[in-house]
């Protein structure tokens, strides 16, 4: 057992950046990935594979639009299937990015600086994937714009009472803010890349995106203000977007959906799955690009702790949902719970619980949190469990509702799976482009950290 520090003694926290970095070396370490390093074989291979998957995704969408949503396994009673599951899953994953960028910024958690860039990118790409699904799941996808309130000759407006209309606002706002936030943070780095560029093309390319950034004091002043404001705007979104998504379900009168616990429960689930995704991305990136110094063990540890914390909130949600169903003494509610536990989808239910309640507890152990491979596997397992959780919520509530006559079953078809895998492919395809052509770690914030670390070292 390690010796415990006596009371009053400060434990030196592990640094958020390796001590041997200088501002110059930080800039070099990050910008050379984009500017100088040649395309590596693993990257090319990964890019080729994901490109193929994206082509499959496009084919799946093409067939879907040409033939109809009947190619999926959906039916009456289970009129929502994989599309909505995927939507909720992806939008949940997006949440960690915003949380890291906005809330941790406002809370002065400077360790976030190493991971916020790709967490934000992850958000943008995840929301892109998420936003596709509500459109694709429409019976007549080409009329999606009818959900948007726009002035028209027929004076027809959307039905504002419908949570699906709220979805449109929530997702579009979220996507816009995430994209702006990400891009704003990138401007100083684009300028760095422009200045460090080795070819004319790079200079022009990054120059356009740098929007004339010169690093002047006024620039920094405006930048800081804008960034902070956007962070302030994004913060409520972390809570609101998934709350709105959860209302898609909670608003319905279906047992298993009609539950007031859904908004906080969904938000926690979103952040939980989002952090799992950040971990999934961080661990290989760190390894392949040798960024151990910038993304330190402390980052990994912190994220694992957040994963544990949000996971426990989700577990509370599970328990309360079950408790409420039992406490209501309402026959339909109780049956839905019973059916989840013992019905044809019981395996999914128990698997979700086993992972999200059982396996999650491993994160209490420091060695697991610090062991990269375990953590990586765990993060994948958790993400799968979170996909299954959404699947379970949607399918088990729908497939056996009020009248036994309307009970049915659901099973995903080839086309259902193609779109799940295809969207994952699209996500990683976008992410691969990102790590190759955009600095995946904030350069200027890295430099800031070096300064701060130096100052702290001086003080100490």
């Amino acid at each position: 057992m390690p010796e415990r520090p006596t009371t009053g003694q400060l434990v030196p926290r592990p640094p958020v950046i390796a001590p041997d970095y200088t501002p110059g070396s930080v800039t070099d370490a990050i910008s050379e990935i984009v500017l100088k390093k040649p395309h590596t074989v693993p990257w090319l291979a990964a890019f080729a594979v994901t490109s193929l998957v994206v082509l499959g995704f496009l084919a799946g969408i093409g067939v879907l639009l040409f033939v109809g949503v009947g190619i999926w396994g959906i039916n009456i009673p289970v009129a929502w299937g994989f599309a909505i599951t995927n939507f909720v899953w992806w939008i949940g994953i997006g949440h960690a990015g915003t949380l890291i960028s906005a809330i941790l910024l406002l809370l002065h958690q400077e360790w976030r600086n190493s991971i916020n860039r790709f967490a934000e990118a992850m958000t943008v790409f995840a929301v892109t994937c998420a936003a596709l699904f509500p459109l694709l799941h429409l019976g007549r996808a080409w009329l999606f714009y009818w959900l948007i309130p726009y002035p028209n000759l027929m004076s027809l407006w959307p039905q504002f009472r419908s949570p699906l209309v709220l979805d449109v606002f929530a997702i579009s706002t979220y996507f816009t803010i995430s994209l702006l936030f990400w891009y704003l943070g990138l401007i100083p780095d684009f300028a760095t890349l422009r200045d460090q560029a080795t070819s004319r093309f790079q200079r022009i390319f990054y120059g356009i995106f740098a929007m004339g950034w010169r690093g002047a004091g006024r620039h920094w002043h405006h930048y800081q203000m804008g960034y902070l404001l956007l962070a302030g705007l994004a913060t409520p979104l972390v809570v609101s977007v998934h709350s709105v998504v959860s209302i898609d379900f909670a608003y319905a009168l279906l047992p298993g959906w009609h539950s007031s616990i859904f908004p906080p429960y969904f938000v926690a689930g979103a952040i939980y799955s989002g952090f799992a995704m950040v971990i999934t991305l961080t661990i290989p990136l760190r390894k392949f690009y040798g960024l151990d110094g910038l993304v330190t063990d402390r980052h990994i540890d912190n994220m694992a702790k957040l994963l544990l914390a949000t996971g426990l909130v989700v577990d509370y949600g599970y328990l309360m949902e079950m408790f409420t169903a039992w406490y209501s003494a309402e026959r339909y509610e109780m049956f839905t719970l019973y059916n989840r536990m013992t019905g044809p989808y019981a395996a999914v239910f128990w698997l979700v619980l086993a992972i999200n309640i059982g396996v999650l507890q491993l994160l209490w152990i420091r060695r697991v949190r610090r062991h990269l491979l375990s953590l990586f596997v765990l993060s994948l397992v958790i993400q799968s469990a979170m996909w299954l959780e959404r699947y379970m919520i949607i399918i088990t509530a729908l497939h056996r509702d009020f009248l036994p006559r309307s009970w049915g079953m659901f099973a995903g078809t080839f086309w259902d799976w193609l779109l799940v895998i295809g969207s994952i492919g699209l996500f990683f395809w976008l992410f691969l482009l990102f790590v190759r052509y955009i600095p995946m770690i904030s350069i200027f914030e890295g430099r800031e950290m070096v300064h701060k670390a130096a100052r702290e070292a001086g003080v100490r």
């Binding site: 033939v67 396994g73 019976g139 959307p158 039905q159 449109v168 009020f402 036994p404």
Partner: protein
């Protein structure tokens, strides 16, 4: 109409390969699929939906009586298997688009049944053959006539010694008259009749009981106690809609408690009638006669030797039922099933006479059929003649005997020995292929003819449209046999009736008959017959039940003997009890299934007498043990039914037409996914059907609103003031006591609302499109559960959960309280369906509506939009009918009167179970029903406030049978 022509050429091309092959055997699966006809054509999933350019041209000479957009109604009759049903057919711009019952016709009384309703698709069926065929190659009517006349000339010399005619049961007096003339012209010619679902046993039973063949009509409106011995008289009887109507008129809640009738059903399979019974006893077919004897003995039929029933339950039944029947002398009916042995029929006759029913509830008349014969003997005689080479010319007028003949007769082989064989039929079926000549037959909506109803009432069948695919009537072929070539049917029929009516003013008589749809005064007079001493004539009682499995053959409740197999509407219609579609299944009881080690969806080889068919098992709760039901009509070559169905005719022999023993079942290890529309059928503690006994209702009229049915506090708390419906307030009540599960409403809804056929695979995926469905719930022990029917369509909730969730407001409330669906606005989020607790919304997951078949476009109701892909749809309470009535009323400056708006389902319902009307009209019938204490809101605890409510079901329970009470005991009511 240029597109029509193009399309027809397309159609021809598709058929060529068939015409070139001598048998269908040479066709591959792909080719079959193209030939499946209306069934698949209507469920076509073809891609593009662009509509062809259309030209609108005014009439130069407007036909008399035709006002655009205003439908015309013509009285006619449909020759159903059995007897005719009188119809009023709605015609819009020269196209018949909807079939409704003729109120003046005794068999329909303004109502109808699923077969009549679906016959509309039969008219427009693109699979109907369009050409005369000679040895399966396209030929022409003139060259057929030349060959035919030639052959007849040869026969004229031989006095018709080589001429044989084969018809189905003839119920057309004009055709009967023609055939009589043919037999006069060719005195040695023979006329045979064969229908696979025939009345041979009824005839034999009557001969046994009375010494002569008399026709029996039962009057259920006067019957207080009914014992059914294997009779499905409510659905598959001779004139089911009339019987259902009379039967339902005396159900619980409709008459004072002491007048409520009680039905005991003893049957092998689980039929609709069994589901409507107050008490039901599953009995092996081979035990039926002994049971009938036991009851007969107990009601006092003299001299009946009854072996002691070994089963105590059967003994108890015989005792209690006999006692109950005796207590209602003169008001009871014992009705035997068509398929039962002649002895059972004779025993039933004897019981009815013993119980004083004759003349009151049981009426005898002369036979309705033109020439009743023993059809099996008749077919056997024909086969023998064929085999002996004595048949030079065989004329088959209708029917598909190659497919339907008993397997041991070898009819198909014998047919090949005929020198010339002529087949008149609607489809290029097995018989058409096997015959020298095939002449396409007209549909009844395209022809002049006549037909008799169950009581002998004659109706003139008048055409509503020129033959769509050409075609000749049986009258025309018969006329050709009399040397009258190309004599139109109209003249033949008119000529017959001119002679028969002997009316001074025939034109007046004719016009009146056409207008009324019935020929007045043609009903057969009752006849008094005295039973002979049955004890002497009855064959000795059967020895006690032999061991082993028995099989019974029954007509299929949706495709009958196979004649409707090409009809996609009927194929997709769920069978009343099993709720299976598109296939017939091997029905076994749960106990037998577990003994055999078989399970639903498992395929088995069924072997009987050395013949084997492969079918799919369906475990049918309540089926008699050790007995297997096979239904007729599936797996016809022309329909290419690839699914899990079997052809029961391949096992059916002339010795055992309706039941046989010595059946062997072997598992094949395979599975076939039968398409069933209701995979969960237990009533459960949710009680979608609220049920009590007549006794309950008398002692506690409020039982339907108490535990265990109502368990939540009455809802109604809301922040908003209730909406005031100032004008009309539409609502509906469905009386579960009256519903017999016959599906007439479902089919009426299908044709009225242009509902798409989706096909087996889509039904299997829970994607059927029926707006109206009849749910069936089982309750009680799986060995013999009770079954309840519950028709359900959109209930038009006042607080509809579907409305607020639609993001584009495609579903919303009208000011008259209808939950309206705007197809054009729907983008297909399907949230409305998710949030519908009744799951009555239907989604076009694929392009289900056939946009390509021109003939199907003609069939559609122009007042209802066909729906395209990606759109939600559901019951509208027939808003088109509401609007039409409102327009009519507005023209006359008044409100719509009660009974003016009749929804399609209501109109078709033979038992008046469905009543629609204006809830703001205090005198409306629907309000009278809704004020009943039996009235309840399905899932009312959700505060949806449905406008469609149900009336709780009452069972006339007989305690003396000592059966379990109907409601679950409290401790059984768990989750």
């Amino acid at each position: 109409m240029p597109p029509m022509k193009d399309n027809r050429q397309e159609f021809w091309r598709a058929l060529e390969p068939v015409e070139e092959t001598a048998e269908f055997g040479g066709i591959d699966r792909r080719e079959f699929a193209r030939l499946i006809g209306a069934s698949l054509a209507a469920s076509g999933l073809a891609g593009c939906v662009r509509q062809p350019p259309e030209h609108i041209l005014p009439y130069v000479d407007q036909p008399e009586g035709m006002v655009q957009d205003k439908p015309l109604y013509f009285a006619t009759a449909v020759p159903l298997p059995g007897y005719a049903a009188g119809l009023l057919v709605k015609s819009v711009m020269g196209r018949p688009i909807k079939i409704e019952g003729n109120p003046r016709h005794p068999a329909t009384l303004g109502r109808s049944d699923a077969f009549s309703q679906a016959s509309l698709l039969g008219l427009y069926d693109p699979a109907r053959r369009g050409a005369v065929l000679y040895r399966n190659r396209i030929d022409s009517w003139p060259s057929f006539l030349a060959a035919f006349t030639n052959a007849l000339a040869t026969q004229a010399v031989k006095r018709g010694a080589g001429l044989h005619i084969l018809t189905e049961t003839v119920i057309s007096p004009a055709l009967g008259d023609q055939l009589r003339q043919v037999l006069e012209r060719f005195p040695e010619a023979r006329w045979h009749q064969w229908e696979p679902v025939n009345r041979d046993n009824i005839r034999a039973g009557s001969l046994l009981a009375f010494g002569s063949y008399v026709h029996t009509i039962y009057d259920f409106s006067k019957a207080a106690r009914i014992l059914s011995l294997g009779s499905d008289f409510l659905l598959c009887g001779a004139y089911p809609s009339r019987y259902a109507r009379d039967f339902a008129s005396r159900r619980g809640g409709r008459v004072p408690p002491d007048q409520v009738n009680r039905l005991y059903a003893v049957e092998t399979e689980y039929s609709s009638t069994g589901a409507c019974a107050d008490h039901r006893l599953p009995l092996r077919d081979r035990e039926m006669e002994n049971f009938a004897r036991a009851v007969a003995q107990r009601v006092g039929v003299p001299g009946i030797a009854a072996p002691e029933l070994s089963d105590p339950k059967q003994r108890k039944w015989a005792e209690v039922v006999a006692k109950d029947l005796l207590q209602h002398r003169g008001a009871s009916i014992v009705i035997p099933g068509r398929e039962q042995a002649p002895a059972v029929h004779a025993l039933a006759h004897a019981m009815n006479h013993q119980l004083g029913a004759a003349g009151t509830t049981v009426i005898h008349t002369d036979p309705v059929e033109i020439t009743p014969v023993d059809q099996l003997a008749s077919l056997r005689e024909l086969t023998d003649s064929l085999r002996a080479g004595r048949v030079d010319l065989l004329v088959i007028l209708g029917g598909n005997p190659v497919y339907t003949a008993p397997a041991d007769l070898g009819f198909a082989d014998a047919l090949a020995r005929a020198q010339i064989s002529v087949h008149l039929g609607q489809y290029a079926d097995e018989t058409a292929t096997a015959c020298t000549w095939h002449v396409p037959q007209t549909h009844y909506l395209e022809e002049w003819s006549d037909a008799l109803a169950f009581d002998g009432t004659a109706s003139i069948i008048q055409p509503l449209i020129d033959p769509l695919y050409g075609g000749k009537t049986a009258h025309e072929v018969a006329a050709a046999m009399l040397g009258m070539l190309d004599r139109p049917s109209r003249e033949i029929v008119r000529d017959y009736w001119r002679r028969r009516s002997a009316a001074a003013d025939f034109e007046r008589f004719w016009r009146e008959a056409l207008y009324l749809g019935v020929v007045s005064g043609t009903a057969l007079p009752p006849r008094t017959v005295a039973p002979v001493n049955l004890a002497e004539r009855l064959p000795p009682p059967r020895p006690p039940a032999e061991e082993g499995y028995e099989v019974i053959f029954r007509p299929d409740p949706t495709v009958w003997d196979g004649r409707f197999a090409s009809n996609g509407y009927l194929q997709e219609l769920p069978k009343p009890v099993s709720k299976l579609t598109w296939d017939n299944a091997v029905l076994v009881s749960p106990a037998t299934a577990s003994r055999l080690g078989v399970y639903s969806y498992g395929t088995v080889d069924v072997e009987l007498g050395g013949r084997t068919v492969r079918g799919t098992i369906w475990v049918q709760p309540g089926h008699a043990d050790d007995s297997i039901t096979l239904t007729l009509g599936y797996k016809q070559a022309a329909n290419g039914s690839e699914g899990g169905s079997y052809n029961a005719y391949q096992l059916r022999t002339s010795k055992d037409l309706w039941s046989a023993s010595g059946l062997r079942i072997t598992k094949t290890g395979g599975d076939f996914m039968l398409a069933c529309t209701q995979t969960h059928g237990a009533l459960t503690e949710r009680y979608p059907v609220r049920v009590g006994t007549v006794e309950d209702f008398r002692t506690n009229p409020d039982f339907a609103h108490q535990e265990p049915f109502e368990h939540a506090p009455p809802p109604g708390h809301t922040l908003y003031p209730p909406w005031k419906y100032e004008g009309y307030k539409w609502g509906m009540a469905v009386d579960l006591n009256a519903c017999v599960g016959c599906n007439a409403c479902v089919m009426a809804c299908n044709t009225e609302n242009n509902i798409a056929i989706v096909g087996r695979e889509q039904v299997y995926k829970y994607r059927e499109m029926h707006w109206l469905r009849v749910d069936r719930y089982y309750h009680g022990d799986a060995g013999n559960p009770r079954a309840f029917f519950q028709p359900l369509m959109c209930v038009h909730c006042e607080l509809a959960p579907c409305e607020p969730v639609c993001p584009v407001a495609a579903t919303l409330h009208t000011e008259e309280g209808l939950n309206a669906m705007v197809y054009n606005r729907c983008v297909g989020t399907r949230y409305c369906s998710n949030n519908c607790p009744y799951k009555v919304r239907r989604f076009n997951f694929l392009l289900y509506t056939d946009w390509h078949a021109d003939s199907l476009a003609l069939m559609r109701n122009p007042e209802v939009t066909p729906r395209s892909r990606g759109v939600m749809e559901k019951c509208t309470f027939c808003i088109q009918r509401i609007e039409r009535a409102k327009i009519e009323a507005k023209l006359e400056n008044r409100r719509v009167r009660d009974g003016e708006v009749v929804t399609a389902c209501q109109q078709a319902c033979p038992t008046d179970a469905i009543v629609f009307g204006d809830l703001n009209d205090p005198s409306a019938r629907v309000n009278r029903l809704k004020s009943s204490r039996l009235n309840y809101s399905l899932l009312g605890e959700l505060n949806t406030r449905p406008r469609l409510t149900h009336l709780a079901k009452l069972v006339n329970f007989n305690r003396e049978l000592g059966e379990e009470p109907i409601r679950l005991k409290p401790e059984e009511r768990g989750a």
